[in-house]
């Protein structure tokens, strides 16, 4: 970490300021558009400040995993290609993109967003496999939260394609059947820089953070997944404060999200 940059950031925060003049617990303005990609079975574009990303859903029929023979498969993948940020390089998935994929994946899975049993066509033989790809277009921070919101919005937008008698998918014809979603887990990441807690960090803020925690909440306010990141250790008191901030932010985001998917 660039320690001079962190010192400057802490100085700014000590004057109760952020680089973009936001309050510490303010999320940047968020817009969610559904159905932006015609070739995908479902898609969403989410913009939060300068950060913009597209999530797309593709469906196929596949063999289930042997330990969950009567359940469909939901898989999230994130590609940090050189498009969205000069720091990203092409090549195999970096550890950052793997972490983002897995944290989004875990939020949806542990939050029981999908009734995966309803995705079973023939137990042990055929189930629906749902691939969600989250692609940043412009990265200025907080891909974890915004990626998860985009992934969930795209799932809400998804409609099954038609399947003929032989079981072949006709991707050109979409039915009006939607995915069996039953819960909307939403994540909020809170970062710690020095003694300060911020939500919705920009890239500059992420570059100098000591620690972060991503909390995933269900509609009833219960937690369904947590991930701590970065090196900085946290006290139990820190974690308590961060959870409270995350919950407050999640409630505001949920209002925006629910309006968008209506």
């Amino acid at each position: 970490m660039d320690e001079d940059a962190q010192e400057n950031m802490i100085k700014l925060l000590s004057e109760n300021l952020r680089q973009d003049k936001r309050g510490f617990e303010d999320f940047r303005d968020m817009t969610i558009e559904l159905g932006v990609i015609e070739t995908a079975e479902g898609s969403a574009r989410v913009k939060v400040g300068e950060t913009e990303l597209i999530a797309g859903v593709k469906l196929k029929i596949d063999k289930p995993y042997s330990d969950t023979a009567d359940e469909g498969i939901l898989m999230v993948n994130t590609e940090l290609t050189p498009l969205s940020n000069p720091n990203f390089e092409s090549g195999p998935p970096s550890i950052n993109s793997i972490e983002i994929s897995r944290v989004i994946d875990r939020g949806l899975r542990e939050g029981q967003a999908m009734d995966v049993k309803k995705l079973c066509i023939e137990a042990g033989e055929k189930v629906w496999m749902i691939n969600v790809d989250v692609c940043p277009v412009n990265h200025n921070g907080n891909l974890l939260d915004i990626g998860a919101i985009a992934a969930l919005a795209a799932l809400h937008d998804t409609k099954f394609p038609e399947v003929d008698k032989e079981g072949k998918i006709d991707y050109k014809k979409k039915t009006s059947n939607k995915l069996p979603l039953k819960e909307d887990p939403l994540p909020v990441t809170v970062i710690k820089i020095g003694d300060y807690f911020l939500v919705d960090p920009t890239e500059n803020e992420e570059a100098v953070m000591d620690a972060r925690i991503t909390f995933n909440f269900r509609k009833d306010g219960n937690l369904c997944a947590i991930q701590k990141g970065e090196d900085g250790p946290l006290t139990v008191d820190d974690i308590k404060k961060m959870a409270d901030i995350a919950e407050k932010t999640m409630k505001k985001n949920r209002v925006i999200f629910e309006k968008a998917i209506k």
């Binding site: 029981q112 925690i213 219960n222 937690l223 947590i226 250790p233 946290l234 974690i239 308590k240 409270d244």
Partner: protein, 256 residues
């Protein structure tokens, strides 16, 4: 029904039996095994040694490189395919970050300390066992550290906070005979610096509320103070023998 009696009869704040030993891999600069119930972790530490590829080098301080590897036969279900996968890469990363804040490598610029953790058999709690083993192995290798890191998973089963879930407890709704208060099970791996009480690893999956989270972290934090004694003891055991032998020679020289 609330979860009152655990499947294996343990108390809520009781871990499975723990066994730790330092210096189990002779080729390594430091090594250890850490067993908690049926979860076994071996750790080997190599370094500080020069880091390649060179572009990864940090001229300010040495870095840790953590690899978490499940042996192909170590899983309860199907064979685990060898080689890194998304899960093992993520666990390697969070484990590395759990150790970073106690290890002090400013005197070893451009170097790497390789920490390799392999698990011959697992029954839940593998990342915590890996961190405990790695911490002993780092101390055994003489890597400068501010403290040990201890780790244990807490959990919520049927609305009851308890410690160190086994694989069966993670699947509790399948085993429960009574009607459940809550169908949900949550698993919360926690790593902690026992001397300061600071948390260096925190993950959670499952469903729980905020109060249960804080209770679970506190429970794990308290237990880490006990686990670190087992880790320290493993180091003491290894070096005790040498000291005793030496002191006996010294007594012989004096003709006692």
């Amino acid at each position: 029904m609330v979860y009152k009696k655990r499947l294996d009869g343990r108390k809520m704040n009781e871990t499975r039996e723990i066994e730790a030993k330092a210096g189990v891999i002779k080729k390594a600069d430091g090594s250890a095994y850490f067993k908690i119930g049926k979860t076994w972790a071996y750790a080997a530490v190599y370094g500080p040694r020069e880091l390649y590829p060179r572009f990864l080098q940090n001229s300010n301080k040495g870095i840790i490189r953590f690899s978490y590897i499940m042996m192909p036969f170590s899983g309860m279900g199907e064979r685990v395919r060898p080689g890194p996968n998304r899960r093992s890469k993520e666990i390697s990363m969070v484990s590395q970050k759990a150790l970073n804040s106690v290890v002090d490598l400013v005197d070893f610029p451009n170097t790497v300390v390789d920490v390799v953790v392999e698990l011959p058999q697992t029954d839940a709690g593998s990342r915590c066992a890996g961190i405990c083993a790695a911490s002993i192995a780092l101390a055994d290798a003489g890597v400068p550290m501010k403290d040990m890191v201890a780790a244990v998973a807490a959990g919520v089963v049927d609305n009851t906070v308890c410690l160190d879930l086994s694989y069966e407890e993670e699947q509790y709704p399948d085993y429960a005979k009574e009607k459940l208060d809550s169908e949900h099970v949550a698993d919360i791996p926690v790593a902690c610096i026992p001397s300061t009480g600071e948390i260096t690893l925190l993950q959670m999956d499952g469903i729980m509320n905020k109060d249960q989270l804080i209770d679970a972290i506190n429970l794990a934090k308290e237990k880490c103070k006990e686990i670190v004694e087992i880790q320290r003891n493993a180091i003491h055991e290894k070096y005790k023998y040498k000291i005793n032998k030496k002191s006996m020679d010294w007594k012989k020289e004096l003709g006692e």
